[in-house]
Symmetry: C2
Subunit: 386 residues, 2 copies
């Protein structure tokens, strides 16, 4: 249990999309330099990289030392943390526990993924590494296929309509219109989602997060004077939990236990009640995953995630805005980087730097980052620093 | 800086070699179960996996959650830490910092690598991911080639003979004869090394660590009652450092700065002087790397690493035994697992469980685990628990 205060004192983001001209190192460096610029006084005690599949996408491992060298921070301990699509949130959790316990004073956490250099079928194979090579991959189930099965079951069990399922992607796209780093800055209607190409029945193209390159970096410190005044967000709690590895093993596929447990622990650590949260960044890699995540954290009742989104509960200006910069569907989902993007976005909100996407008076924020189909979940709670 | 005591209270090892019939999950589980057996009272707060290239060798990522599930420890936070061939030592360092700072109370650290499923040229490509994809890999320099250049330079600069260079491999093989988990349990002569096939001039087959599958696990705890009496080793210090990424960037290729700095920091943390060490496990992925490691830690003077080994300084029964179970050359080097093997071996020595390889009265041990050509180095210091 962390015992000293930990803060995010600056962040750096690249736009998400096609970065043909940049290597994975370039991307990581762009985000890292932007974050370090906000902390001229500070050098990180460690550099922690969240990344899922640089090995297959860039024939590159050893990203930690590579980035340390690139930043002119040779000597600094540096390594990569991987937990599939929750690599970013998990890397942050390691950094938070180290800084929050006083093991180190500061850490630069960088999430980075380069996906666009792969052909589409290679992306499918890379994402499938989140699932068992011996069973799920072996029988040929892609990651989209598994989520398709889940969506079909969810819709049938909970009587969810096509338009209801479309509501989170629609919300995401609406929020991304004014988000500078978002991959898709264009509003869409439920009809657009429902008529888009079939990917894995019933999931269509607009139910699925896109493929993109991107990097995000956050500077973690226990020194409240390291950031600019009013530009610090406090980390109030954070937890990782794991679930039965694959959905076929679970008693109830619709119960996202990893998210439920991680959220519960993180909130307890923060001494926080859900009603206090001003915004939540959820892991909607697929529309159905967004809905089940909202239910697991208790914001929506069972079966009500998409329905509540359709009813306007999670829009900006409503009770509990989610995915304020567009979420995985529209901001984008460069897998190992996503968790760090979410945290950077929470930081921007809590320090009034969210521009046109600002949630007025945001005081507390939660971020939820999943690997696999809720196999790993990393949840963090942030507050406006006093 | 860790503030509470941290102990290794049990370990588990698989033999290193060909495990055609086992998956990477099977291997990790075998080692983990053996380590957990030594701790019937304890459940790990986290599971941390050291692994370099499961993505390319087994089409598998998300090893953390996969292993947690396999062990029946669903719910437990679990993730992979990667820093090329120092992944094992680095994973342990993360666990040590978390347990030693009180962020968590215990961790199961597992190093695992499955290399034999790859064709030899695929192994070369996988290892090359420790180096830059954009430069070193791009120009076609394999990892063995880089170490070959280093060896040529070392031999010429320091007037090191073929027989002198062979001395660490010879020592390793001698120690491995009685090491049950070692890959090659056969003594060799300098002539065997010097006449073996050329790999990357001047490095021959017996200068190079072999390719093998293996897994090692250690249980880290801050609770001195969790292990059996007399079966605890205390972690006295540990540090990671990084160097200029590739050897061509360095002012002095023969100065292993990452190892030098990590060793210095770890020893300072332990409040230890080198003369007190009873044994050292060094990272001799290539004979030349072993020699330069001994020099970087100050056990041998510059240029004297191989020469001192030839003179018998590092043999069992001598002043400072190294690689007491055979080192990377003969125990084996399943890359991401190696750092954890070294730590498990130090534990076995300090708890008088090293069998025929026991260093009598071993009180203090150091382990050194490198990623790249001393690009990352993770050093840990252990003591016999009071």
């Amino acid at each position: 249990m962390p015992r000293t205060k930990a803060y995010v004192s600056s962040v750096g983001l690249t736009n998400i999309g096609d970065h043909w001209e940049k290597s994975i190192l370039d991307l990581a460096m762009d985000a890292a330099r932007a974050a370090l610029k906000g902390n001229p006084k500070a050098k990180p005690d460690q550099i922690i990289i969240g990344n899922m599949f640089s090995a297959v996408a860039a024939s590159q491992e050893h990203l930690g030392a590579l980035v340390a060298d690139g930043l002119g921070l040779t000597g600094t301990p540096a390594y990569k943390v991987e937990a599939a699509c929750s690599s970013g949130g998990t890397a942050f959790n390691v950094g938070y526990n180290l800084v929050g316990s006083g093991a180190i004073d500061s850490a630069l956490v960088i999430g980075v993924e380069k996906m666009r250099d792969l052909e589409p079928e290679q992306v499918s194979m890379a994402l499938a590494m989140a699932e068992s090579a011996e069973y799920t991959q072996f029988v040929g189930a892609t990651f989209a296929a598994l989520n398709g099965l889940l969506a079909r079951y969810y819709m049938e069990q909970m009587d969810v309509s096509r338009d209801e399922l479309s509501s989170i992607p629609v919300l995401d796209h609406a929020n991304a219109v004014t988000a500078e780093h978002a991959q898709f800055r264009k509003a869409i209607t439920p009809e657009v989602v429902g008529r888009s190409s079939m990917i894995a029945d019933p999931l269509r193209l607009f139910d699925c997060a896109p493929v993109g390159d991107g990097a995000a970096a956050v500077f973690l410190t226990n020194n409240p004077t390291h950031g600019s005044k009013g530009k610090m967000a406090e980390v109030l709690g954070g937890a990782i939990s794991t679930n039965d590895f694959s959905i076929y093993q679970r008693d109830d596929m619709l119960d996202f236990k990893a998210t439920k447990n991680a959220f519960k622990k993180a909130m307890a650590q923060a001494g926080m009640t859900p009603g206090k949260l001003s915004l939540v960044e959820i892991h909607d890699a697929f529309s159905v995953v967004g809905a089940l995540s909202l239910e697991a954290m208790g914001f929506s009742k069972r079966g009500r995630g998409s329905k509540d989104a359709k009813d306007g509960k999670y829009r900006r200006g409503s009770e509990l805005p989610i995915n304020t910069f567009g979420g995985l569907k529209a901001r984008g989902h460069p897998v190992g980087a996503t968790g760090v993007y979410q945290i950077a976005e929470a930081y921007l909100q809590l320090t009034d730097q969210a521009g046109k996407n600002q949630v007025d008076g945001a005081r507390y924020a939660a971020t939820q980052n999943i690997g696999g189909v809720d196999t790993t979940s990393a949840v963090h709670i942030f507050g406006r620093a006093a």
